[in-house]
Symmetry: C3
Subunit: 152 residues, 3 copies
């Protein structure tokens, strides 16, 4: 723990650069879910708010399976990627081994992109989704344990 | 990139002050959604948990449109405001142009307040909600791209 | 406000250590919700995606009350714990009174663990859940107000 925050949070620190890059990628990936859900709503004409319907012959609908699948994938992102942002940043601040940290960030980001793909873009049979979920969940758990132990 | 994190994360930095202020406003706005949903549940007597019902003649209900509208607005906040918090902070750390950054934070915050108003307080016809959504989504996308490019 | 970010974000700062510890605990608690929901899905054989079903005699189901209860508890975490992570960190950066800050972090974390317990593990009658909710919501509101006032 020789390093201070001002040495960790600079672009000279490769771990910080990796965190910046993969976090930005995951934010873009999450925003893409809104686009995908919107696209599915238009394609299947499934609108949940009366004010969203242009063609007045269409009624409000709640339960299109393709739309709901996108929404579940998006919610799974909220449940997993948002905690990753927090714990990844705190892990960075406890000055971890650079190589390990960079690979953890990379693994989380790539596994969450795979998760979205196999869940909401092209449905691929299990265990693809559960494995993609587990990579990020286990990496997040490891980082959280490291952060908690360091703080004790 | 002359500045270090310890110069960026002080109250002398106007960008940091703007981030602090608008983030706090958005946190309060998000907490308000819980209040609004609770209020709607009481007004429409729509309770989703048996243990929440005082009057035993009332049954558990799931599908009141006003309650569900509040919950959708709240979920939309989770999907958009939480990634904004993350990317806004990282954008701040790459030392952006002060005027642009302050205006991006302000635009995101105000557009999300407008989004809540037109979605869940007084329903205003489209395209009001989609425009409010887009202002924050596009600003977030811009910041994410800048962060990713800086990290490369 | 004598301290700079690089003095605040070190393990010499007790407030930072408390934030690290309780944030890590809450991240682990949130990840536990996924486990709990998965466990409930298996126990009640309630699968929402066709590709998750091994036994082909089982049909997709949406509305098991135990599964939905876990999902509501998890969503309530997203609505409350994620804003806490953000505002707790910003509150830390405005150099608050150490004792107060440490107790606020502790109160938020413990109340959210209690919230999960009384909502999704062993259902305990109200007002247990509303009180657990309020402790964290009020502490978060207080911190947000302090951050906003400091930034002004």
């Amino acid at each position: 723990m020789a390093k201070n925050a001002f040495e960790l949070l600079t672009l000279e620190n490769e771990v910080f650069k990796a965190y910046l890059f993969w976090s930005a990628v995951l934010v873009l990936k999450m925003l893409f879910m809104s686009l995908l859900t919107g696209f599915m709503r238009f394609r299947t004409q499934t609108f949940i708010n009366p004010e969203d319907i242009l063609d007045k012959r269409i009624k409000v609908k709640y339960d299109n399976p393709d739309v709901e699948r996108c929404r579940r994938a998006h919610r799974n992102d909220l449940e997993n990627i948002l905690p990753f942002f927090v714990i990844g940043f705190l892990y960075l601040l406890i000055n971890p081994d650079a190589k390990l940290a960079i690979n953890l960030f990379r693994a989380c980001a790539i596994s969450r992109i795979v998760h979205t793909f196999v869940y909401a873009v092209v449905v691929i049979p299990q265990p693809s989704r559960i494995l993609a979920f587990l990579v990020c969940a286990l990496a997040t758990t490891y980082m959280a344990l490291q952060v908690a132990l360091t703080a004790l």
